[in-house]
Structures are given as C-alpha cells and as structure tokens.
C-alpha cells in the first residue's frame, strides 16, 4: 500500500476545497433525508467516480435500517456489518462484496449507514481517496445537522405562527359568537373553533338540563357521541348559564404521525372558548333585559300620559264654593284619581279613588272607572245602584289582586246637601264650624273585590257655610321620611283642623309643603292626591 506524502495531501486538499464547500451547500439544501442521500450519491460520483453508493438510515439504536438511496438490493444483506456505536467508523474491508463500510452516529441519536461498492473504473480506493471519503462523510454529518436545524427552525416558525393564529382566532371567536345572537349557531361556531385551534380530530358539545342531555352538536356531524366520550385522549370542560350546562369534549389531538394527548395550552384554549360562550349568552340575556325594560318604560310612559289626561287639568267653578285639587304622581305610574264633574241637574260629583298597585294595569282600571262614571252619573239612578254597577264592571275588568277604593260626594251647591258613598276608601274629613272633625266612611267594600250584589250604603249630610271637606288618598298619611316614619293620619287630621286659609288652593299647597317637609330627602313612593272644598 502506497502512503501519501504530506505535501501531496496538502496539494490535493487545496484543489478539493471548493469541491467540499460546494458539496456541503448542496447537501445542506436538501429538504428530506432521501434528497440528502441522493445528493450525497451525486457528490461521490462527481468527486471520486464512485457510482455504487448505498445510504441507509436507522432512526435509533433499536430501529431497523431503512434504505435512503440504493441501486442494488444485495447490500441489504450486509446491513448487519454496520457497526452501531457512538463513534464514527469507516472500514475498507477486503474480500467482501463491498469496498467501504461506514456508520455515522448523528446528532439526534440516529445513524447513517453507508456501503460503497467499486469505483466506476474498478480501481482500488487510493489512500488520498480514502481521506477524501472520510472528509465527505464528515460533510454529510454536518449537512445532516444543518438539515435537522433547518427542520427545527421551520417547525418553530410554524408553531409560533400557529400560536398567533390561536390567539387571533380566540379573540375573533368571542366577537363572532356575540354577533350571531342565535344560541344554536353560537354553540356550533364555538365547537368548530375549539376543535380546529386544538387540532382535535372530533368534538362534541352537549346541552344538559339537570341530568338530561337536551341537545347535541357533533363535529363532524356523523361522529358518534359515545365514541367521542370514550376515547383515551380527550379534554372536557363545562360552563353553566341559567340552569343549562354546556359540556364540551374534544377527542384525539392530531399530529402528522397520528394522535396524542392534549397539552395544557389546549385546555386553556378550550376553557377560554367555553367562557366566551357564557359571556355571549350573558350579554344576550342582558341585552334582551335592557330591551324589555325599555319597552316597559315606554308602556309606562304611555300609561302615565293616559292617566294624566283623565285627571282634570282644571276643576269647574261651583257657585258659593271654592274647590282645589292636586295629583302628584310618584316615579311609577300610580292608580290615584280625582275629579269634579258637573251633572246635568246642576249638582257636582266630587270623586277620589285609588287603585291597588301601580303600573299599566292600575292606569287601565282608572280609565275604566272614569269611563263608567261618565256613563252612569247622569242617569237617573241612585248612587248606591251606580256603585253596584261600577263595582261589577271593575270586578270583571280587573285581575284578582286589583281593586279600587272609591269615594263620591254629589253636592247640591244650593243647599250644601251631600249624597255620599265611600267604597273602602280612607275616611273623608269634614271640618265643622264648631271645629269638630267628622270622618265619613259609610258605604261598602272597595270596587272589584267581590261581585255578590252586596249593597253600598250611602250617607247624606249637609256642608254648611265656612265648613271644609278634604278628600285624599293614602299617599298623604303614609308618606314616609328617611326613618320610615309615616306622615300619619293624626298629623294630617291636625293639619286639616288647624290650617283654614281662605282659599282652597292655599290649603292644598300648604299640606303638600308639610308632607314634603316630612319626607325631605326621600323618594316619593306613592301618588299624593287630594281634593279640598270650602263652602263660602
């Protein structure tokens, strides 16, 4: 065997430097191991005229050799000759079916096995060619490292971009779910996004009420719910809203190699999407509530307008008398009502009423009462009969919890005669000239409570010159201050007895001011309504 002089080696190596560099560039550009092997074959053929190149790969110590590049099957029988160790090896055996045998342990614990046959010219490998071969083996190892690094870098970039996609879609999903408004579409979209963002192969979303599953969405639609729930690799989460549970289950996280278990990020993503469903449902619910409140507010506004139109803007003048009235509604639509109607026979009907409760139903009952009074007051029937008829109308027009306390006094202005019925209303106050206080409460039960034909007992009395009559609703005596103390009947009665201005308007203004003084700083909780009559 001839030996290579140092000078000769340096000279030959200098000539091959460009070839080595080009070889590395070509190998490092390979996109797969197969391409790497093919390129290695080209380099050996071009540089050393070796045409019988065979390159094998073992993914780990225990794995079988796989062929990356070979033109001759016979070398598969020689694979056992390849030495597996942590060190690079190259042998040039004699009397074997091949000329070169090399094993390269790689950076990722895998191996290249290389078997080379004869050169093209059938000559033996020279010493310098053996040295070059070892250099090419080293270049192959380095190129493989570059290939692995390139793959890792590519994978890392891909994963980073995927994280951006996950984040972006997560934000977008929340907005899209909120915009859908229909629960079925919202749930379907949430499941689609949860499945795709976690790389799940299948998904299931069940809506559960109590122990019963009331609806199921599967992805794909043909997937069987029991199959999804029974897989080994799955993640589940559950959110609850208004008695319904929304249970998500994602099955079998996909990879290019098959399936694997989900990781913590997948669990966080699923949980975030499930929470977005809850948020969307809550927002939807609050939106509907707000719309309903707005609708009710508008209805109440209409009801309030109707009621205000029923209450007289000004009272008729009664010769020999001074009359004044007031109705101060509370924040809600109340059910207080007062009026003074001139009848065809020259008499005047003084009316005050209070519907139990507030809101639209109360306003409607006031409207019914007002219409009934207009119909019956000029009929030649007794007050008692009229009261029975109106009671019947109110009874039939109102729900069980609604009734109207009602007081009417029909005044003959010429002689001061009062024809009175009090249907369950607060006692009406009459201040006599001798400063005695008469409470008028004769009559019957409130309108709308019963319709059993029970008579309403009337009362007749006379209001003399200088005497005063106060009709009021419970909004005055029951007006409360911040300590929840009522203005009270005694205080109101005392005020009525002690305050006797010349003008009815003045009394009304004074008593309202006194009540306001009592309730200072608190919200008015009930209507304040009063009608005051002075016989001059």
């Amino acid at each position: 065997m001839s030996t290579v002089s140092t000078e000769d080696l340096v000279s030959r190596l200098s000539l091959q430097v460009t070839s080595f560099q080009d070889g590395f560039k070509i190998l490092a550009k390979s996109s797969s191991l197969e391409e790497l092997a093919l390129n290695f074959n080209h380099i050996l053929r071009g540089s050393l005229l070796i045409t019988d190149v065979n390159l094998f790969y073992k993914s780990n110590k225990e794995a079988e050799w796989t062929t990356l590049f070979s033109k001759d099957d016979r070398y598969s029988n020689s694979l056992n000759d390849l030495e597996i160790s942590d060190k690079y090896s190259i042998n040039f055996p004699e009397n074997k079916g091949y000329k070169v045998l090399s094993t390269i342990p790689l950076v990722n614990k895998s191996y290249f096995g290389i078997i080379l046959g004869n050169k093209l010219d059938k000559t033996e490998y020279s010493e310098i060619e053996k040295i070059f071969l070892q250099i090419f083996m080293q270049i192959l190892d380095n190129a493989h490292q570059a290939f692995i690094n390139y793959k890792k870098e590519k994978q890392l970039i891909f994963e980073l971009k995927h994280r951006v996609v996950q984040l972006n879609n997560l934000i977008g999903t929340g907005i899209e779910i909120s915009n859908l408004h229909k629960i079925g579409f919202q749930l379907e979209l949430a499941l689609e996004r949860a499945v795709s963002l976690t790389n799940a192969s299948r998904g299931l979303l069940r809506t559960i009420k109590g122990d019963k599953v009331i609806s199921t969405i599967a992805l794909p639609v043909t997937a069987d719910a029991d199959d999804i729930l029974s897989v080994k690799y799955k993640i589940e989460t559950e959110v609850e809203f208004q008695g319904l549970k929304y249970s998500f289950c994602l099955a079998n996280k996909e990879t290019r190699k098959g399936i694997e278990d989900f990781d913590d990020t997948d669990k966080i993503l699923l949980s975030a999407i499930a929470m977005q469903v809850t948020a969307a449902l809550e927002n939807e619910h609050l939106h509907k509530e707000a719309l309903l409140k707005e609708k009710i507010k508008k209805e109440l506004s209409v009801a309030s307008t109707i009621q205000q139109k029923i209450i007289p803007a000004e009272l008729p003048e009664i010769p020999g008398y001074d009359i004044a009235g007031i109705n101060i509604p509370s924040a809600e639509v109340g059910g207080d009502y007062y009026d003074c109607m001139k009848l065809n026979d020259g008499r005047f009907a003084l009316i005050i009423a209070d519907v139990a409760g507030k809101g639209v139903p109360s306003a409607l009952l006031v409207s019914t009462l007002n219409a009934s009074l207009f119909s019956y007051l000029d009929m030649q029937i007794s007050l008692s009969d009229m009261a029975m008829k109106i009671n019947s109308i109110i009874f039939n027009a109102s729900p069980p919890d609604k009734f109207i306390t009602f007081f009417i006094a029909v005044l003959n202005p010429e002689n001061g005669e009062l024809d009175i019925i009090n249907a369950g209303h607060n006692p009406i106050l009459l201040l006599r000239n001798d400063k005695t206080l008469k409470k008028i409460d004769a009559g019957g039960v409130a309108f709308g409570m019963f319709d059993m034909g029970l008579p309403f007992e009337g009362e007749q009395l006379v209001i003399e010159q200088g005497e005063r009559l106060l009709l009021y609703t419970d909004g005055i005596p029951e007006a409360m201050n911040e300590n929840e103390e009522e203005y009270s009947d005694p205080k109101m009665e005392a005020f009525f007895c002690e305050n006797t201005p010349d003008k009815a308007d003045d009394f009304i203004n004074n008593i309202v001011a006194d009540v306001r003084d009592h309730t200072a700083g608190t919200l008015q909780s009930d209507d304040i309504t009063a009608l005051y009559l002075i016989r001059k």
Binding site: H162, V165, N168, E188, P220
Partner: protein, 114 residues
C-alpha cells in the same frame, strides 16, 4: 355544519381543480396531498384548491398544504386557493401560505391567473 371530509377533482384546460368538503385536518390534508401527488406525477403543474365547502382547518391540515406548496415551488408549479372562509383566509395569511400561493374569489377568477 361540518361533514366528513370528501374530495373531488376536475381537469381544466391547464390545471387541476380540487374541491374539498369538510374539515381539513390530518385525514383531509393527506387526501389533498395524495390527490395532488397523483396528478403531479402525471405532469400537471397548476392547481386550484376550492375550499368553498370547507369551513374549518387545523394546523396539521395546513402543514399538508405547505408541503404541497413546497413541492410545487420545486417544479415551478402554482397553487391558487379559492372561496376562502374569512377565518381560514386570515389563518392562511398568518401562516404565510400566500407568500408562495395565490388566492382568488372563485374558480373562474383563479383560472385567469394561469
């Protein structure tokens, strides 16, 4: 509503149109690449991937599409995506697919790009 993955293809004048239905995941992506490989070996260089009936795609499905684009780049071929769902279009943009492939509103518009 996401169905099981199905695929159909049709030869146009100078390209192959692949129509997909359903979830583009491991299975869907593999089927697309298989269909692509089958016709690539037959010499077709231009492809239209019509995703009108595919509303969701996962990253594994995307990796198959990238593989397809890389192979096409090696042979100076071209891929055009059409009928993209807005979320998928955004996903492809972030993943960088449109650096090496094109998009069109529909197949007719895509055919004009070849």
């Amino acid at each position: 509503m996401v169905t099981d993955f199905k695929l159909s293809s049709e030869n146009k004048t100078n390209c192959l149109v692949i129509n997909t239905h359903g979830y583009i995941n491991n299975i869907g992506g593999q089927k697309i690449v298989d269909e692509f490989n089958k016709h690539k070996d037959g010499g077709i260089k231009n492809y239209i991937l019509n995703l009108e009936e595919s509303k969701i795609v996962n990253s594994i499905g995307i990796s198959f599409l990238i593989e397809m684009i890389e192979k096409l780049n090696e042979t100076n071929g071209k891929l055009v995506f059409t009928n993209l769902d807005p979320t998928i279009e955004k996903t492809f943009t972030i993943m960088g697919l449109f650096q090496f492939a094109e998009k069109a509103n529909n197949v007719d518009e895509a055919l004009k790009l070849f």
